[in-house]
């Protein structure tokens, strides 16, 4: 019996030692199957696909540098007197958290470097997520079947901001302490439960002695764990959907064109991790970020002028600055049924961010409802070929930027020697007008670019060669495009508005009318892609002239 089963042993015997080890593992985890599935999987390539990679890699660097920092950081808010080697703060009363942050910077070799790496990667992490999302939005990559992955990405953006803010507060320096002070003020403005939430967060009155330890737990355990979970979900869905690709010859919704994972794509993507790490190391080496020793320990009394939050919190801070507390004799804070409602804090803190994130989360479904488009899309839109969407994105982006700029209103004023009040008035106006201007301008620019594409597809590209015709007319010779380049300019859809359609009872519902209205708004301004017939006509019209020109040129030589 046993002899028989031994005889049926696997036929494959590896020749080398490495081979035998690989075979041992493979026969126990089924690696061959995984490799067969993924080893040559095709990934489309484009520079704009790298932002997501930057985000992933900066998160890895955050985990590495952050782990180092936890070995020395002590989140206690107990009072101590500084005894480290930074002379200006010698013997100053401060919290243990701040003192240990100073020690990391000045008394632990490489500690300052790690702090710098950690902070720069955090800024880059949020920035690359934001840019990645802009790319996804403007190219329409959020459309079916990727709506849920867009939501996971949006959650990641919020988590990244949460990770950033909780980490920013940990050193318990003057700057971050004022940041917490502002958060406390905003929390207290929440009706009914605000005061309780504030007391629960700070373990009593602000600043108390609990908040740094609590933020530390959130920062090193809860938030990173959630980020990791979301990243796993995100990448899982990328594998399920396969990557999108830019439009072009040979690419359609049924295929995926690109480089195989092994070796080219893996090498490029893997190498890119080291490049991101290298660039962050360069920034950490030469650009100081968050010099906490200049700020001093947190104290509720002093504050330095020109205080700025980290960039990703800026838009909320800016919105707080833009809101007037009093207009004429109207106070935005008033008493209702004997309780205080402080709308001058509540509105700017919650409403703009609320609108931005709600629209962001829901946008795939909004567009899906308006366009009734239920097809899968794997080929991206060039932003110009979806003018209304691009204009909506630009409007949102400008709105965000106005708020973000407002967070630096004092710096704008001092830098350009203008009145701080005027800067605020202008930004208040731009808060409302800016998105509208951005919408109109972007839509017109997108349509103009589409017309330009049509022009080039039909009449060829400008060669810069000016030719004089026999009767004296000067013309510029246009060279026809090859069919591959032309296809890139004409291979897109230009949907027409979808009028209201009666439902199964033969009734055109109110909702359907609204949808039809939005559909008209979305698609009524459109430029149709050039057709072969038009190209034929254009050639019929132009060819003789150009040929004549060529002829005359030959003659003149």
């Amino acid at each position: 019996m046993s002899a028989a089963s031994t005889a049926e042993a696997p036929a494959f015997v590896a020749k080398t030692k490495t081979g035998r080890i690989t075979d041992f593992v493979d026969s126990r985890v089924g690696g061959s199957g995984i490799l067969r599935e993924f080893g040559r999987k095709v990934f489309p390539d484009h520079w704009s696909f790298m932002f997501g990679e930057v985000a992933l890699y900066s998160f890895v660097i955050l985990l590495l540098s952050g782990t180092f920092l936890t070995f020395w950081f002590d989140p206690s808010m107990a009072e101590t007197r500084y005894a480290g080697s930074y002379v200006p703060l010698k013997n100053v009363e401060m919290s243990v958290a701040y003192s240990s942050s100073l020690n990391i910077s000045f008394d632990i070799r490489g500690g300052l470097f790690m702090r710098q790496v950690h902070h720069w990667s955090a800024l880059l992490f949020v920035a690359s997520i934001a840019v990645h999302m802009l790319r996804v939005f403007f190219t329409g990559a959020f459309r079916k079947p990727r709506e849920m992955n867009w939501v996971v990405g949006s959650v990641l953006l919020i988590l990244a901001m949460a990770a950033g803010f909780t980490g920013y507060s940990l050193p318990d320096d003057l700057l971050s302490g004022n940041g917490l002070r502002i958060i406390d003020g905003v929390i207290k403005a929440i009706p009914v439960v605000g005061t309780y939430i504030s007391f629960f967060l700070f373990g009593g009155e602000f600043p108390g002695t609990a908040v740094i330890g609590r933020l530390y737990m959130l920062h090193i355990l809860l938030v990173p764990a959630l980020i990791l979970l979301m990243i796993v979900l995100h990448l899982f869905m990328v594998v399920v959907h396969k990557h999108t690709q830019y439009p072009g010859p040979g690419r359609n919704d049924g295929n995926v064109v690109g480089y195989p994972l092994g070796p080219v794509y893996a090498a490029k993507a893997g190498g890119f991790f080291f490049i991101v790490f290298g660039v962050i190391a360069l920034m950490a080496a030469f650009f100081t970020i968050n010099p906490i020793w200049n700020y001093g320990p947190y104290d509720p009394s002093p504050v330095s002028a020109g205080t700025q939050p980290d960039w990703y919190i800026g838009f909320v801070d800016g919105a707080l600055r833009l809101m007037p507390g009093v207009i004429g004799d109207f106070h935005f804070e008033y008493v209702i049924f004997g309780y205080t409602l402080t709308l001058n804090v509540l509105l700017p803190a919650l409403v703009p961010a609320g609108i931005l994130f709600t629209v962001m989360f829901m946008y795939p479904w909004i567009e899906r409802w308006i366009t009734k488009d239920d097809r899968e899309h794997h080929v991206l839109d060039r932003p110009r070929n979806a003018p209304t969407r691009t204009a909506i994105g630009a409007a949102g982006f400008v709105w965000y930027c106005v708020m973000w700029a407002a967070a630096g209103s004092d710096l704008i004023a001092t830098h350009f020697h203008v009145s701080l009040n005027d800067v605020t008035y202008w930004l208040r106006a731009l808060f409302f007008v800016g998105p509208i201007i951005a919408y109109i301008v972007t839509k017109r620019v997108a349509l103009a670019l589409q017309r330009k594409d049509r022009e080039i597809a039909l009449h060829g590209r400008e060669t810069g060669r000016i030719v004089r015709l026999p009767h004296g007319e000067f013309i510029e010779v246009h060279a026809p495009l090859d069919e591959y380049k032309r296809y890139k300019l004409v291979g897109f859809e230009s949907p027409v508005p979808l009028p209201a359609v009666p439902n199964e009872h033969g009734v055109v519902t109110r909702k359907e009318k609204r949808r039809a209205f939005l559909s008209r708004w979305f698609f009524e301004d459109r430029v149709a892609p050039a057709t072969p017939a038009e190209l034929e006509a254009a050639h019929g019209h132009h060819a003789p002239a150009v040929e004549a020109a060529e002829e005359s040129k030959t003659l003149s030589h």
Binding site: F206, G250, A281, P300, S301, V303, R321, V335, Y484
Partner: protein
């Protein structure tokens, strides 16, 4: 047909394209022909690329060495006399070393991939994310599972389970009940309230020395904390966060105190809470010429000559005034606590203000 601006309804949801006629569209010419790189045709170029990759990997080794030398050769230990300049130097060298080490590997691999690895783009079919066959099979399985549990036939089990599951997380919320104490009216009071009938002196921030009225010259400003704050052993920052005050002296004629506040100032000396009524930053900037107080966080501006009324910015409420007088030794004292809660507004604020004044 052909007219693509009227847009007839299209039930499939497929959008109309120009001309509405598939024949009229340009046909996809397929992938463009592959173009060879220099290194594909010229063995010399390939060899050169190979050497470049090796040099980049070599640069990485140099970077690692720079890091190690900078780490071990520069000592930050106690008594080493390390100063900011040394730390900056070490930071720069560690960063430079890491950058070289990482960029060397990264650019080397990418250069290798771009110059030497095959650059043929390949096309792969996409597959349906879900097939109808799978869906039907899954539905059958779920139906079988539901059937076997019998949950539809036994509503008693289903309903009691739903009830139990709905209630079970409540303890998980309740255990956070001790995260903080109840607010009560802690926010309504500060350290300025007289202790056992003794009025608190105004003292300098941070050293705690008392301030004589005669020290406060016209146009000057003091950052003030209450007497005894520095001696607190617990909750010092909590008290300070409510009690800090700005003390300024103006021409008494420019102050127009409202009814009930006539005796809150002394000889043109006024004291106002330094905690912004917007979200609580310290209102740290005093513009002496205009008698404006400016909060550097969100630029709320308060006018001292109008009892710190808001004249610009997001704050909605004047800064609370601290009633002051002079004791028999000539030192400034607070005659009472603030008559309203200081700092950012909160839901119960008005209630607290009424209780303070009753």
């Amino acid at each position: 047909m052909g007219n693509h601006s009227d847009g007839s309804p299209n039930h499939s949801g497929t959008v109309a394209t120009a001309g509405q006629n598939e024949v009229e569209k340009f046909q996809d010419p397929g992938l463009p022909p592959h173009r060879l790189r220099l290194a594909d045709t010229d063995p010399k170029a390939a060899k050169r690329a190979e050497r470049q990759v090796a040099v980049l990997f070599g640069a990485s080794v140099v970077g690692t060495l720079i890091f190690l030398v900078a780490y071990f050769a520069i000592d930050l230990g106690a008594g080493s006399g390390a100063n900011i300049a040394t730390i900056r130097l070490q930071n720069a060298l560690l960063g430079l070393g890491t950058a070289f080490a990482m960029l060397g590997i990264g650019t080397g691999i990418v250069h290798w991939a771009k110059a030497l690895m095959p650059d043929h783009e390949v096309s792969e079919e996409r597959h349906a994310i879900r097939t109808e066959e799978d869906r039907l099979a899954a539905v059958r399985i779920v139906d079988d599972i539901v059937e076997e549990t019998g949950i539809k036939r036994r509503p008693l089990i289903r309903n009691t389970l739903l009830g139990a599951v709905a209630l079970a997380p409540l303890p998980a919320i309740a255990v956070f009940g001790d995260l903080g104490p109840r607010p009560d009216n802690k926010l309504a009071h500060t350290m300025w309230a007289p202790l056992e009938g003794k009025l608190k002196r105004l003292t300098r921030d941070p050293d705690g020395t008392p301030i004589k009225a005669s020290d406060v010259t016209l146009g000057s400003a003091f950052h003030v904390i209450p007497e005894g704050l520095n001696e607190l052993h617990e909750g010092k920052l909590n008290e300070k966060a409510k009690a800090v005050v700005l003390l300024m002296r103006l021409d008494p004629a420019s102050l127009k105190p409202s009814a009930g506040r006539e005796d809150w100032s002394y000889n043109g000396i006024v004291a106002y809470s330094k905690i912004c009524t917007h979200v609580g930053c310290p209102v740290a900037l005093y513009e002496q010429q205009t008698h404006h107080l400016l909060c550097p966080c969100h630029q709320s501006t308060f006018d001292l000559t109008q009892e710190c009324k808001v004249i610009f910015g997001p704050a909605s409420r004047p800064l609370p005034q601290l009633p002051i007088a002079v004791d028999n030794e000539g030192y400034l004292v607070a005659t009472s606590d603030f008559k309203e809660p200081v700092g950012p507004s909160y839901w119960e604020r008005d209630e607290h203000e009424r209780s303070v004044n009753s």
